[in-house]
Symmetry: C2
Amino acid sequence: MTSPLRTAVVIGCGTTGTSVALALTGAGVEVALIDGDPRASAEAAALGAGRAWTPRLPPADLVIVATPPSAVVDVLHSAQSRGVGHVYTDTAATKDIVCAEAELRGCDLKGYVPGHPLAGADAGGRAGAAADRFTGRPWVLCPYETTPAAALAAVTALIELCGAHRLDLAAPVHDEVLAELSHAPHLVAAALATRLAGSGAAYLRLAGQPLRDAVRGAGGDPWLWSDVLAHNAGPVADVLDRLADQLSRAAAILREGDACAPLELALTLQEGRRGHAALERAEQRTIQDARTDRPV
Amino acid sequence: MTSPLRTAVVIGCGTTGTSVALALTGAGVEVALIDGDPRASAEAAALGAGRAWTPRLPPADLVIVATPPSAVVDVLHSAQSRGVGHVYTDTAATKDIVCAEAELRGCDLKGYVPGHPLAGADAGGRAGAAADRFTGRPWVLCPYETTPAAALAAVTALIELCGAHRLDLAAPVHDEVLAELSHAPHLVAAALATRLAGSGAAYLRLAGQPLRDAVRGAGGDPWLWSDVLAHNAGPVADVLDRLADQLSRAAAILREGDACAPLELALTLQEGRRGHAALERAEQRTIQDARTDRPV
């Protein structure tokens, strides 16, 4: 059986796009690169991620749109109009609005499979692109009901070549889960960090480990993240309101200061500890799975 | 000049007490250990932190009370009554209530210097005790106006033998700073983690790096932390209320969903990024200072 994926075009040479391009190039796929900023595609090409795209190239087996959420549908529509490829996917961190926009804009939905690869624990802190950024990690697809098998096969081949695991989710479910597990926590990290901006080193040396860990997430690109948050507004707002409520209640318990306060707080902290342990176990399992997946 | 510190008693053989005892023993101080749980003091002794205390020992140069905040004054009062040492300090993470309680209980304030050593970035994740836990780190003292020079000298010698830096702060200032930089962030980590407790690994694999980093702080001892929070109730409640307000406002911006939402969010995220960078710089400076401090 021949692979459904011999040629690919990556549009958007940021960390995600370049990582995907490096994985595909490493697997023998011919990759062409496009970016609005010619320096970005030149840098990716210099890393060995592929060659610059030209209009003379025949339509690729797969086009990966790796832009921030708000740009996906414009880029997709334009690329489909120009016939850049046969099948299209994207990598944006929000899916519900992107899917609906693509439908409203009149994109060819039979040739577009919405997707979202999730970078790993070790990759998170790494600024640069890498071929193994998605190895052993989940890669969410949100196919339309009408998505043909051939389109799904091309995107599934992409996922396999990146060493990731395909996970199909309905777009609204994806967005609710990501709001809880990624988008809202990023905003919480930023909120914790805002008050530190004007502080001197003598003061900041007194910071405890929880704060240091918590604000590490606040280092990401503000424009990319605000785009993600605005495209997942409802679910993120729900999580933020719930957290605000939890913190207000804890503050009220502390202010009342009755004899039960330490017990009530300890129960919350105990539940938090159980959540922390569950997350550690899941991470451990992911690492084991990734090891098992790799050819020896 | 002879050292003001040849003998010491450590009461409370948890991570902090055992670390201090290890540092003192390593520096040639004779250390006697006390813990309500005889297994804890036996374990510390087995690590080389000192020998079990007996009532036959003469009063020590310094007694370090390394218990949770709510136990400090009881333990201090009882040890002073029995004449366990000449000078006393403690290591509790809250200072204002502890200082006031010691005064109200009629403890000998001329022989008691309230203190709080802050564990380092690298030590934070380490469960076990270590002699270098406080090396290069700030060690806050909250002396009373009447504290005699000899008592301060004994506690300063302790700080130097642990390789830490003395930082004098008024107790209410200490508590406000710690509420902001340590105590409230711990509760935020727990609040983020509570919802993960019942979740399966397949769901938790979708967790982003900010959440993984953020909930790392939620792994601490719930009873110790609820004791700390209840003893710093006002300042912690202030920080929690402010954070709850920040998150609610972000949620409102997201729900309104007007054209300015991404810009407003990006400004918050940008400020958070600046705070994150300030903290990273402070940490870097601390690491450099610690290196410079170490004898070559």
